[in-house]
């Protein structure tokens, strides 16, 4: 008998269930087909502007830093300023993401921008985000052609360009957005929820940032307003 049959047999004996139990199967199908939300914290169920403010407050509390810019065109300048301010070399490894490619990098002639997955020698990465969860100041990044996962973990400094329209209240809203993009029951290879920079408290319970992942997490927030949110098609407007 295979391990699979032995284990499933033991589970069914323990639960006193026959494999053809229709009621139990129906309960499982229902839960898979129409997932129900648990209690959603009230703090996440606020208007969009309040969600943006909550996201900022929670992310900063978790030792991320955040700069707001009015337009996407301002991102290269904000990134260059951040690097200068922290005495970091003016070099970036950016995600191969058309949206990042389209930014006016020419405005920062001192900044070198390479594209692709992270190499061991990369000091700073720049990525986009798929969504952000205001509830706990958490970024949601999905792996894919335009988003190598190594950029989120290997470099010492991780800079994320986040649009205000990507900020949602609770995690469940972010999952809805993933389902809308990938189809029900389908996920990209990796979903990374990131809340602040890497840390450890393994030595005498004192928190130290930069254990193995990035020492710094910086968010450049583009205030593009609440447009293009899920459910807000171009026709029905804000």
């Amino acid at each position: 008998m295979s391990g699979r049959d032995a284990i499933l047999g033991a589970v069914r004996r323990a639960l006193k269930r026959r494999p053809d139990d229709k009621v139990a199967r129906a309960a499982v199908e229902a839960r898979m087909g129409a997932p129900k939300r648990g209690p959603i914290p009230a703090r996440a169920q606020v208007g969009h502007e309040a969600q943006v403010d909550l996201f900022e407050a929670m992310a900063v509390e978790q030792s991320a830093t955040l700069t707001r810019v009015a337009r996407a065109e301002d991102v290269p300048g904000a990134v260059a300023d951040y690097l200068k301010e922290h005495n970091l070399p003016p070099r970036l490894r950016a995600a191969p993401n058309p949206e990042l490619d389209a930014l006016p990098w020419d405005s920062q002639p001192l900044l070198t921008v390479a594209r692709g997955r992270a190499e061991a020698s990369d000091e700073t990465s720049l990525t986009g985000a798929f969504a952000a969860v205001a509830e706990t100041g958490t970024l949601m990044l999905l792996s894919g052609e335009t988003a190598p996962t190594t950029l989120n973990f290997l470099p010492d400094t991780h800079i994320v360009m986040l649009k205000a329209s990507e900020i949602l209240g609770p995690y469940e809203d972010a999952w809805d957005r993933v389902r809308a993009a990938y189809g029900p029951g389908k996920l990209p290879r990796t979903v990374n929820f990131i809340t602040g920079p890497s840390r450890t408290a393994d030595i005498e319970q004192t928190i130290q940032l930069g254990a193995h992942g990035p020492r710094r997490l910086h968010i450049v927030l583009v205030e593009d307003g609440p447009m293009n949110r899920p459910g807000n098609g171009a026709d029905d407007g804000p």
């Binding site: 499982v28 052609e145 929820f193 992942g213 990035p214």
Partner: protein, 475 residues
């Protein structure tokens, strides 16, 4: 790992007498309790979330066979492999088989209690494969050849001086005169040493906090980012997980995640929560080429449907041990096996036998703090009591305990005799102790009087006072 749970009493005695351990354990009391309380107080929905989390796991366990089937189907649809392993031995063999097939020399590891449970590192080493623990706490205890002493803070029994000494001994590539006195220095040095290991590893092994049936995904929750570097860089990712880690869908996952970090470290959310589905896709620039899940039973199906069923709701947050006065006094190693604290007192006898670990469920005052903070509302004291009952039924408790309990039961079933005897005893003790008001020594009470005096009874017994009071009130 080899169990020393049988010698729990000796282990505990040695632990209590260890001043270095006392200093280290002070951090548990001062840190975890306050942080959890603050995080719980900040979220008005916290208790409602605990109820919801409990209900999710109850539903899942009641349909475990169907969710396991659905989970496996989705892992395969994602291009991954599921290895069903009934025993620790099966799981070790399955991991080794994958490592050997790809010619692995070094394996990086994220923190995994299941890996400790199946003693994976020793097995890999015995076959010429070098396992490298990458969680800082796990790395430190691997250098020291010690088991973890806490399920989420494996090196909590150590002070920084000891860690500094280990690093000086092991990291001989660095100058001797370097400063290592601060936690910051130690973290930086470990980061530097392990970075190279991450890049060179052939296989990455992680545990899983959850397995999601809806999508066939495994989920790890970490703060350091080591688990992510472990799984994204090597060409093979192996997940070792026990079968009760299943949750139905992403909404259920989100609900339980809301109570996990708050209960564990008092964080609003852990730094990294990573949901992984299968190997890299054709369009992915990075990620592993192979994805394997070692799905372990190792005694869980024996607990399912038994009086220990509820312990399968555990999400391994560590809140029970963080709040346990016994754990505070003796630390994790005294428990003698992988899982310390109240959760260990329930789980260990189930996994390695009550003959071996019968002392653990007895090492509790039943103060109830563990149950009061458990995010999954597991009635830990009740489950420990079940083990005591089993131990008694199987004649495993010591003769003195058995005869003592039998004598007490005889009296307790005869209240008139009981009251008369106790009343007599109190009068005798009261008369004997009248001069000093206390006893430095009493027969059959050595366990008490060795550490403190026993006060001499004064006046009447509670029962006598109660009877008088009732009589006085009556019209």
């Amino acid at each position: 790992m080899r169990s020393t749970a049988r010698t729990f009493k000796e282990n505990a005695k040695a632990a209590v007498a260890d001043p270095q351990l006392r200093r280290a354990l002070d951090h548990v009391k001062s840190g975890f309790i306050g942080k959890r309380a603050k995080a719980a107080a900040r979220l008005p929905e916290f208790d409602a979330l605990r109820d919801a989390a409990r209900d999710i796991k109850n539903h899942t366990l009641d349909h475990l066979d169907l969710y396991l089937e659905r989970y496996e189907q989705n892992v395969r649809a994602n291009g991954g492999h599921v290895h069903w392993c009934a025993t620790a031995e099966d799981a070790r063999a399955a991991v080794l088989e994958v490592c050997q097939r790809v010619g692995a020399k070094t394996v990086t590891k994220g923190k995994s209690m299941i890996s400790e449970e199946i003693a994976l590192n020793d097995h890999l080493e015995a076959h010429g494969i070098t396992p490298i623990e990458t969680d800082l706490g796990e790395y430190i205890i691997q250098l020291r050849h010690e088991p973890p002493s806490h399920i989420i803070a494996p090196a909590v029994h150590l002070t920084k001086d000891l860690i500094e000494a280990d690093f000086r001994k092991e990291h001989t590539q660095f100058p001797e005169g370097r400063s290592l006195s601060e936690p910051r220095d130690l973290v930086d040095e470990a980061r530097q040493v392990l970075r190279d290991r991450f890049l060179k590893a052939d296989v990455g092994i992680t545990g899983a906090n959850f397995l999601v049936a809806e999508t066939g995904a495994s989920v790890i929750v970490t703060n350091e980012g080591n688990g992510d570097l472990t799984q994204v860089l090597p060409k093979v990712h192996i997940v070792v997980a026990s079968l009760e880690k299943i949750v139905p869908n992403l909404e259920d996952l989100s609900t339980i995640l809301r109570v996990l970090a708050r209960s564990a470290t008092g964080q609003e959310f852990s730094t990294y929560t990573t949901v992984s589905s299968g190997p890299k896709r054709a369009e992915d620039p990075d990620g592993p080429e192979e994805y394997h899940v070692i799905l372990l039973d190792n005694g869980r199906t024996q607990m399912l449907g038994s009086e220990f069923h509820e312990v399968l709701r555990c999400i391994r947050c560590g809140a029970c041990m963080n709040h346990c006065p016994v754990y505070h006094a003796i630390g994790g190693h005294a428990y003698g096996w992988v899982y310390p604290g109240p959760i260990g007192a329930v789980l260990t006898p189930a996994l390695i036998g009550v003959e071996e670990a019968g002392s653990l469920p007895n090492a509790s005052t039943f103060c109830g703090r563990c149950e009061s903070v458990c995010p999954m509302r597991i009635p830990l004291p009740k489950l420990m009591r079940h083990w005591r009952e089993r131990e008694f039924e199987r004649h495993l408790s010591p003769a003195a305990v058995r005869y003592g309990l039998a004598a007490w039961a005889f009296l307790a079933c005869r209240p008139a005799l009981y009251h008369w005897l106790v009343g007599l005893e109190m009068r005798v003790l009261g008369a004997l102790g009248r001069r000093k008001g206390r006893f430095a020594w009493l027969p059959f009470a050595g366990g008490w009087t060795r550490h403190r005096d026993f006060p001499a009874p004064q006046g009447k017994t509670f029962q006598a006072l109660w009877a008088e009071r009732k009589a006085g009130r009556a019209p």
